[in-house]
């Protein structure tokens, strides 16, 4: 895997194969991105239909964001809801992945189960939220069920309590995305050379040993992918809490995520503040991803 010296003469193809990505990226994403960062140094927004600015203000937008002190709160909210959803999600995915690949279990209807788990992701977040609203309404079926078995005496306001809102957001995210994770893992498992399993079994390894010694290490790159993209997706969590709380992040913004906050500035097309905010987001994401990379990278070396 590491011996690439032999392909030196072909290396210009590396550049050739990169051309489409680079060209499209430069045109469709680099230009907006550069303007985003550039704009963060300006007072630049719309007041109604009147354009205010751009007036150069240096790092004033950054100072505004740091001094109003909201960023750590929204970061904390985001991380709490992400962890609440991601932990069950990855545990469930690994568990299902392990079961599906465990030869000794011989589960029936595997195709059915494997197919079903991704289905919730097909529903639009807005449609999903509509259903959640109906189910968790004060007069909805969940409340009347809970009241019948006597958990509550009067309807519990799911949408008005800090932890119930956060839990609902996490539940929805988990439901929508655990199938996605499982599929990623299963595709990774499928790519593993079957002869490795055969050899291991011939050597008398148990299913658990095969899972830990062969499947997991070979799955590591995919696991890293899952971790990193979930983290990034988590930090960019937006649609579910946005729709579920009608953009307010209620109660008292305890479920307001970073991107929901960013979205508030898009209403007035506040390129300046939104730009500065995204630079902060970028730094936060970068640091966290780096930590994950470092952490997993080390293990990688030890593992092999």
């Amino acid at each position: 895997m590491n011996k690439k010296s032999k392909v030196v003469s072909y290396n210009k193809w590396g550049y050739i194969f990169l051309i489409p990505f680079v060209v499209i990226y430069l045109v469709f994403q680099m230009i907006p991105l550069v303007s985003t960062i550039y704009n963060s140094l300006f007072e630049y927004y719309r007041s109604g239909l009147t354009q205010i600015g751009p007036n150069f203000v240096g790092f004033e937008n950054y100072a505004t964001i740091i001094t109003n002190g909201d960023l750590p709160t929204y970061f904390k909210n985001t991380m709490i809801m992400w962890v609440l959803g991601f932990v069950p999600q990855i545990v469930l995915s690994l568990l299902l992945g392990a079961w599906f690949t465990d030869p000794s279990l011989k589960l029936k209807c595997q195709t059915f189960f494997k197919t079903v788990i991704y289905l919730p992701n097909l529903i639009m977040a807005s449609a999903f939220s509509m259903l959640f609203f109906t189910l968790f309404a004060d007069s909805g079926p969940i409340n009347s069920m809970l009241m019948q078995i006597g958990v509550f005496h009067e309807a519990y306001k799911f949408m008005s309590n800090v932890w119930s809102v956060r839990t609902l957001v996490a539940t929805m995210n988990c439901l929508m995305w655990f199938g996605n994770t499982t599929i990623l893992l299963m595709a990774g498992m499928m790519g593993i050379d079957p002869s490795l399993f055969e050899a291991a079994q011939v050597d008398g390894a148990t299913a658990t040993q095969i899972f830990y010694k062969i499947t997991l290490p070979l799955l590591k790159p995919i696991l890293i992918f899952v971790m990193i993209t979930s983290l990034i997706g988590g930090l960019q969590m937006f649609d579910v809490p946005q729709i579920l709380t009608n953009g307010s992040g209620d109660p008292m913004r305890s479920s307001m995520t970073l991107i929901m906050y960013l979205n508030k500035h898009l209403f007035s097309k506040n390129y300046g503040l939104a730009g500065a905010l995204s630079v902060f987001m970028f730094i936060i994401t970068g640091i966290l991803s780096l930590i994950v990379f470092k952490f997993t990278g080390k293990e990688d070396k030890d593992g092999r």
Binding site: F17, V91, P141, M190, G191, G204
Partner: protein, 308 residues
């Protein structure tokens, strides 16, 4: 089989600890009872999970059979009799729903194709070749993956306005060629499963680089491509934000915009029954695409995992 792992809880903990626990794994042979217990737990969890996954489709279906007034009375578990009414109302309404479906299909299929093919190509460039900018490019693409899409969306719209690509599907499709997350997955997948020896063998056989990529690498990447194709397809299918700002003609609009339009209808026409019918209508093709593509993944795992 490992007798330590009897319960679900324990298994979870083990999974969390991942590779660290391998040393503690004993070589005890499994006995029948523990297999049965584990299988029982597995089925129980799987059935519960499947219920949680399918339940939403059941509710959507129920709601699609109910009239607007019935829907405002809250949830019921029993279907009503307005399925056909809702469908007829939706079909005879002024929204071009079939047009919308065709648009959605074109955009989503094109997005999924471009995203997967070119991301594989990009990943292959980084994976298989050594060149000066290689590490820089890899880090660079990973960095841009971290940029929140919401902010650049505004700049993106200004840009396509300047390029006069307004009201066209192109700005919704072409940018998919540069999909950092898809690239990253492809790269990781290659790391775990694509041996470079295969590529070298092809070279010895005299295959050109481009041909090697198309005929050897792409087929080997099928499961990964299927996975990302599904994700890109679904992502594009359900996307509302950008298409709503780009597409203005009813005949060019995609299904999520039409759904939003239906929910925005004036009081004379507002009908949640139709909205649910429309949601059901728009989920249908995704399910089919998913079922078609999922065979690559679902079937594949059995091959890899259970063989022998």
């Amino acid at each position: 089989m490992d007798a330590n792992i009897l319960s679900y809880d324990k298994k979870v903990r083990e999974d969390n600890n991942m590779a660290e626990n391998t040393s503690s794994v004993t070589k005890k042979k499994d006995n029948g009872a523990s297999i049965h217990a584990r299988r029982f737990v597995a089925y129980l969890v799987l059935i519960l999970v499947s219920f949680l996954c399918l339940f939403w489709f059941y509710v959507l279906f129920i709601n699609a059979t109910r009239s607007h007034s019935e829907l405002s009375q809250g949830f019921t578990a029993i279907p009503s009799s307005h399925l056909i009414d809702n469908w007829v109302n939706l079909k005879s309404g002024t929204l071009p729903i079939f047009n919308g479906m065709v648009n959605s299909l074109i955009i989503s299929v094109a997005t999924a194709t471009l995203a997967t093919y070119f991301s594989t190509m990009t990943a292959y460039a980084i994976h298989a070749y050594d060149f000066k900018l290689k590490n820089f490019m890899f880090t660079f693409i990973l960095m841009i993956m971290m940029i929140p899409t919401q902010v650049t969306a505004l700049g993106f719209l200004q840009l396509i306005d300047k390029m006069h690509l307004d009201n066209s599907a192109i700005p919704l499709i072409v940018p998919a060629i540069a999909s950092p997350a898809v690239f990253f997955y492809m790269k990781q997948y290659m790391d775990s499963t694509l041996p470079l020896s295969l590529v070298e063998a092809a070279r010895i056989d005299g295959s050109g680089e481009f041909r090697t990529f198309n005929q050897i690498v792409v087929p080997l990447m099928k499961p990964a491509i299927a996975v990302q194709a599904i994700f890109s397809f679904v992502g594009s299918w359900n996307n509302y934000f950008t298409p709503a700002l780009v597409l203005h003609d009813d005949t060019k609009k995609t299904l999520p915009i039409l759904i939003a339009q239906l929910r925005n209808a004036d009081w004379l026409k507002f009908d949640m029954g139709q909205v649910y019918m429309m949601i059901a209508f728009s989920i249908f093709p995704v399910i089919i695409v998913y079922l078609l593509l999922s065979r690559f993944i679902v079937g594949g795992v059995t091959l890899g995992g259970v063989k022998g």
